[in-house]
């Protein structure tokens, strides 16, 4: 029982990170209807910004940690907007496939420029928050897990407020419902899409820092696997659906941690995709998504 709770806790903290990345995928899919493959590399850039910022700030204090987190989020938000402006906006009218390939191009570009500038060798991510282990009964709760789950909850709350309580959030929902109609009622789609990219990239950066805190070895290709799994999480919850992405991330993280703790641990990467396939075959719109009828 104790082991079960411990694994559940570990799973939730991994799932929280997947959820943060999945939110970016799902929001971009909501407004533009394409898979932003470069998202996982924005996640990687976030971790690197954290690494370099960490060298100029005092180690392991709460304030420095928050500053690093904010720096990475702002840096990646700008990066996300620049990517959207330069690579995706000119292709607004192009077929999905072309945008997808461009996204893959941007992804490769970030990965290999990362290898060029940061070097291909993994680096040790410093402790940016103070670390300690708390014992609750027989459970061991690390402070990192508290930071991960707390930050994720806070960011999701903020996101929920932005999407449902602000003008720009209303505009985002309008664009994702019907881009042409939203333009007719005076929404500037370009600004909304740019904002969505900024918001999603900022969440990915936070995810990157939190991931690097738990798995403190960062390299330019670190984003690929978490990125793919976060995307699976987004689909699992129903792509384009924000609470769905959070749910999908938590579910996937938990299942993966349990598989990792069992005798089938070498299959853990396959399990994530297995779940994806089963979900798509039996409930193609995801757990919380609504199936759309295609009109001729």
């Amino acid at each position: 029982m104790n082991e079960f709770l411990q694994q559940l806790l570990n799973g939730l903290s991994l799932g929280a990170i997947y959820a943060l990345i999945a939110l970016g995928y799902t929001m971009v899919y909501g407004v533009l209807r394409f898979i932003n493959f470069a998202h996982c590399d924005v996640f990687m850039v976030g971790a690197y910004i954290g690494y370099f910022a960490g060298q100029h700030l005092p180690r392991a204090t709460i304030w420095a940690g928050i500053v690093i987190l904010l720096a990475a989020m702002v840096g990646c938000a700008i990066l996300g907007m620049v990517i959207e402006r330069l690579a995706y906006r000119p292709l607004r009218a192009a077929p999905t496939l072309n945008v997808l390939i461009t996204a893959i191009g941007v992804s490769l570009f970030l990965e290999y420029s990362g290898q060029l500038f940061f070097g291909a060798t993994p680096r040790n991510f410093p402790d940016i928050f103070p670390t300690a282990n708390f014992h609750v009964g027989a459970l061991v709760i690390s402070s990192n897990q508290i930071v991960v789950i707390g930050t994720t909850l806070f960011l999701m709350l903020v996101l929920q407020l932005i999407v449902h309580r602000t003008r720009i959030g209303t505009a985002m929902r309008a664009v994702s419902l019907n881009p042409n109609a939203s333009r007719l009622v005076g929404v500037n789609n370009d600004i909304v899409i740019s904002f969505t990219f900024g918001l999603g990239s900022a969440l990915a950066a936070a995810g990157g820092i939190l991931y690097a805190m738990n798995y403190p070895s960062i390299d330019p290709l670190m984003g690929v696997m978490p990125g793919l799994k976060a995307f699976v999480a987004a689909i699992l919850g129903g792509i384009g659906n924000i609470p769905g992405a959070a749910l999908g991330g938590l579910l996937l993280g938990t299942v993966e941690t349990f598989v990792n703790g069992s005798e089938y641990s070498t299959y853990k990467d396959a399990i994530a995709f297995g779940i994806l396939i089963v979900i798509l075959l039996f409930r193609p719109a995801g757990l919380l998504g609504k199936l759309m009828v295609e009109k001729v």
Binding site: F34, I35, L100, G105, S107, T266
Partner: protein, 313 residues
């Protein structure tokens, strides 16, 4: 004899002739040429699925892996039994290799069938994702099968792949795919791509067409995998990850979807390009990525929009 058949025979004859003189050709050039051939087979087979039938698949490297592993299993485990002590001579080895390629291709085709039946009900992005998932699952399975080398990979395949084998297969793949697509039956592929709902409305079984395209595509990917395994002589599961699939997809898209001639040119270009950029090795993947983005921005319909036999408007 119809023209495609003559072209096929000429290709095979020419490739055998080149192999005959292979001693006097620069080994590096020959290596690059064989790499080009294998990529052409992969691109042409994916072109049937993505270009002609319009089904976006990101798992092509998975089928290649199936072909590579199972054909290697044939030459490593069955080969010595069939050839006996003496090694069987050139003819016997050729027979074993042909058997290995066919087994690799058929196993990949079966994998394609098993994956295609459930996943081809999905469309667009979802299909892309499910095929990506299956591709990764195939890779993880090979990572865990001990008698196929596990995570370390499989080594020690005999170097059976020659220029003749490669280009005979290239010829066969192009021949089979273009004959299939240009036949009356092949109109169904294009109808499925152009408008699935309209195709269904006139009574075409679009799911069936998609599965046929998928299985034939997987078969040739398997053959290409077999050639690849006996060319590199060492394979490991990481070589067939989703980046490899993307490389093949990029060839199809740059060549202009459904344009066989363009896809062949794109496969040649994209194989030679990294070789040509070897001088600036550290920048070459960055340049490759930048080129990809720029090409998509500037020439969204592929670089080669010209098709042989079509007049300019």
């Amino acid at each position: 004899m119809p023209r495609p058949h003559i072209a096929l025979l000429l290709t095979i004859a020419a490739s055998i002739a080149v192999t005959h003189f292979s001693d006097s050709i620069d080994a590096y050039l020959l290596d690059v040429a064989m790499g080009v051939g294998i990529n052409v087979i992969l691109a042409v087979s994916l072109n049937l699925v993505t270009g002609h039938t319009g089904q976006f698949s990101l798992g092509h490297a998975g089928f290649m892996a199936v072909g590579a592993y199972l054909s290697s299993a044939v030459t490593l485990h069955l080969g010595p039994v069939l050839l006996g002590e003496e090694g069987g001579g050139a003819l016997g080895q050729g027979g074993v290799f042909a058997l290995a390629l066919i087994v690799g291709g058929l196993c990949a085709a079966v994998a394609g069938l098993l994956i295609g039946i459930p996943s081809l009900r999905l469309k667009g992005d979802y299909l892309a994702l499910v095929t990506l998932g299956f591709g990764e699952i195939i890779r993880v399975i090979f990572q865990n099968v001990e008698w196929l080398g596990g995570a370390l990979g499989l080594v020690g395949m005999p170097a059976y792949t020659t220029f003749a084998w490669t280009y005979a297969c290239v010829g066969l793949a192009i021949f089979a795919v273009s004959c299939l697509v240009n036949s009356t039956y092949g109109c169904g592929f294009r109808a499925t791509r152009d408008d699935e709902i309209a195709a269904e409305a006139v009574g075409l079984d679009t799911t069936r067409y998609k599965i046929v395209a998928f299985v034939v595509g997987a078969f040739f990917a398997g053959v290409a995998g077999g050639l690849f395994a006996h060319f590199k002589l060492t394979i490991d599961p990481r070589g067939f990850d989703f980046l490899r699939s993307i490389e093949i997809v990029v060839m199809v898209i740059l060549g202009g979807m459904g344009n066989t001639f363009g896809v062949i040119l794109a496969a040649i270009l994209l194989t030679i390009l990294p070789e040509a950029l070897r001088e600036v090795a550290e920048y070459r993947m960055v340049i490759y990525a930048l080129m990809l983005i720029l090409l998509m921005l500037l020439r969204p319909n592929g670089i080669f929009t010209w098709k042989p036999g079509s007049r300019r408007p």
